[in-house]
């Protein structure tokens, strides 16, 4: 059993509070991603769980045991660092076996476990090399191997892929996912890359300024973002977000442009309310070129001029002008387009989001 539970976890440096009393319960064998922009406190939170940072208030439980003041070695965790942190004066084999050596494991037990880990990660041929003789991807694998060998309750990953190039990153992402399926440990994974978080995690914790904005499955945070920040952070290209005022059954934007008030929000807003209207690129599309074309309940059609197009092969990102700014839309089965061309766009308002301007919270009930 390796649940992890954070209760009112707080970190202060002097008078500056970095993490503001966060609560989080992580179940056994769960893959949790902490995601957020840099400086949001995600790495600090991870380092507090690891025991590398003292906690200022609150508590951390691993497997039901309070570990607040335990040193890292007594927490039965492993960590993969952004910099890999391989010991440069040791071979790959010594790096992998270091924790066992420190623990005083028997030689044959050590050899067996190092062999197991290196087999899982395909490091067999590299065991006698030093870290300086390895490529970035290989170093990354050694760092993961060193974590596996310990057979920990919890794996901690601190932006492990951010030093790799794009191709290798995608490859290692798959490997991490396979690894989790194999070792079945609890994983806490810190990243600033929402794609990594979405693809890897069972649940995503989105953090901002030392607060948790939302905790949910990738599907939940994508489809039902709790705040304006989450809506803008998750998804690529990002959601179109524009301020508007509620009028009689309508949303009036700053330029005077209008859209019908999405039906699902009608009970929750009053005339005169200031709101932020959000619509994902997937839910705006040239009519006949969308995902939900057909059965969608609340499609609004409007003719808009195209400003820029970004063809991606299987789809084209079409930027259309509305309310004086560019809204990005996704065109499936694309055909060549010219900028300046006017097109009838379908806006699937059943998928729209409304957030309160002041609190940023969703107005969905």
């Amino acid at each position: 059993m390796a649940t992890v539970s954070l209760k009112k976890l707080t970190k202060r440096y002097g008078n500056i509070e970095i993490v503001h009393g966060i609560d989080l319960d992580i179940t056994d064998r769960e893959f949790i991603a902490l995601v957020g922009p840099s400086g949001c406190g995600k790495s600090t939170t991870l380092r507090m769980i690891a025991g590398l940072e003292e906690i200022s208030a609150g508590s951390i439980e691993i497997g039901g045991r309070v570990v607040n003041d335990l040193p890292p070695r007594s927490r039965n965790i492993s960590m993969v660092f952004q910099s890999y942190a391989l010991y440069p004066h040791m071979t790959v084999r010594e790096n992998l076996g270091f924790s066992l050596k420190i623990a005083g494991a028997a030689k044959d037990d050590m050899d067996r476990r190092v062999a197991e880990a290196s087999a899982i990660l395909g490091l067999d041929t590299l065991l006698d090399r030093r870290p300086s003789q390895l490529s970035g991807g290989q170093r990354q694998r050694v760092a993961m191997g060193r974590a596996i060998v310990r057979d920990p309750d919890v794996f901690l990953f601190d932006e492990p892929l951010s030093n790799l190039d794009a191709k290798l990153r995608t490859q290692m992402r798959t490997e991490i996912k396979k690894l989790h399926a194999k070792v079945q440990s609890t994983v806490i994974y810190v990243t600033h890359d929402q794609v990594e978080a979405m693809t890897l995690a069972d649940r995503i914790v989105i953090m901002r300024d030392g607060h948790i904005e939302q905790v949910g499955t990738p599907d939940e945070v994508f489809r039902r973002p709790a705040t304006r920040f989450v809506a803008g952070f998750i998804g690529s290209p990002p959601m179109n977000l524009h301020e508007a005022t509620v009028d009689d059954g309508q949303l009036v934007f700053a330029s005077g442009a209008k859209l019908p008030l999405p039906g699902q929000f009608k009970p929750n807003v009053a005339v005169g309310d200031k709101v932020v209207f959000g619509l994902r690129p997937d839910d705006i599309y040239p009519t006949g070129h969308g995902i939900s074309s057909g059965g969608a309940a609340d499609v609004h059609q409007i003719e808009l001029p195209i400003t820029v197009t970004e063809p991606l092969g299987n789809e084209t990102l079409v930027f259309v002008e509305f309310n004086g700014s560019d809204w990005v839309s996704r065109m499936l089965n694309p055909r060549p387009l010219k900028s300046g061309e006017r097109m009838t766009m379908s806006l699937d308002l059943s998928q729209a989001h409304l957030f309160a301007v002041d609190t940023g919270k969703t107005l969905r009930s």
Binding site: A50, P71, M79, S83, P88
Partner: protein
């Protein structure tokens, strides 16, 4: 066609220029090395030739006769032109090694603290340590002499070791601090997660990586002690505490200076220092930390 010829000429003249530059560079290097090595060479030569030749004007470059008399005399005991060189050597060794070990140990602790911890007044303390280096040692010799006389540690190994530790500690702290800074902090943290205590993480990971730096600090500290004359000449008196540099003075009498004997003793002094530097030199390879972190 013409263009091709021009191009070939350009290439060959560039090649010629590069070769010429190479030759000039080597000559320059030779002259520089000669300037550095000549005094040493002159000492070795002078230890092997008679005083007449040493004092000759114009200087005799090629020695006419070579003899090891000075070396033989040095070890032949009092009264036969000898000096207690074995005792001086022992004193030098004891004092240099002990004070180096202490200075490096303190330097490691201090350097590590400055590199890794944040504490109040850190930069002032560091600046203070560095400022002590601005005071010339000789300026302290007289107050130190009075103090040592009062404490009864004049003319002892302990007294000199104490002075040398004080002399070397700021320097070793400064040097070792720099080397610990180069060892990524992540490594010690990774070691702690791998099951090490802070102490183990230091000895298993950070110390081996800063090793070459610590070794170079040790060499510098050792050579400082080994070659130091000004303080030693004030604080030691007898055979039981005098070091080799002070021993050189044994060759000066009221009216004469035995240059040959002095040079021979200088050679005896240089050899261990040179040997030590050669032995440790190969451990001073940098770049050991490459590959620890990204890149």
């Amino acid at each position: 066609m013409k263009g091709g010829v021009v191009k070939m000429n350009e290439n060959s003249s560039a090649r010629l220029k590069r070769r010429l530059l190479g030759i000039v560079y080597r000559i320059g290097l030779f002259l520089a090395m000669l300037t550095i090595c000549l005094p040493g060479l002159w000492i070795v030569l002078s230890s092997l030739r008679p005083t007449v030749e040493i004092m000759a004007k114009p200087p005799v470059w090629i020695p006419q006769e070579i003899s090891f008399d000075a070396y033989v005399a040095m070890f032949s005991g009092i009264g036969k032109g000898g000096i207690p060189v074995i005792e001086y050597f022992r004193n030098s060794l004891i004092i240099s090694v002990t004070s180096t070990v202490i200075a490096v140990a303190i330097g490691m602790a201090g350097g590590y603290a400055f590199a890794r911890y944040r504490f109040r007044g850190k930069s002032s303390v560091f600046l203070g340590l560095m400022l002590t280096r601005t005071v010339p040692g000789i300026a302290l010799s007289l107050p130190l002499f009075f103090l040592y006389v009062r404490l009864g540690i004049i003319d002892t190994h302990f007294g000199l070791i104490l002075a040398y530790v004080a002399l070397n500690v700021p320097f070793t702290i400064w040097l070792i601090d720099g080397f610990f800074r180069q060892v990524p902090k992540d490594l010690a943290e990774a070691a702690q997660i791998d099951g090490c205590t802070r102490w183990q993480a230091f000895w298993q990971v950070e110390f081996p990586l800063a090793g070459p730096g610590i070794a170079s600090a040790a060499i510098f500290a050792f050579l400082t002690c080994w070659n130091e004359f000004a303080l030693a000449s004030q604080l030691t008196r007898s055979v039981s505490a005098k070091t080799l540099p002070v021993g050189l003075l044994d060759y000066t009498a009221e009216f004469t200076i035995d240059w040959r004997g002095m040079c021979a003793l200088a050679v005896v002094m240089i050899i261990p220092a040179l040997t030590l530097t050669f032995i440790v030199q190969k451990h001073l390879v940098g770049g050991l930390t490459s590959g620890a972190v990204k890149g």
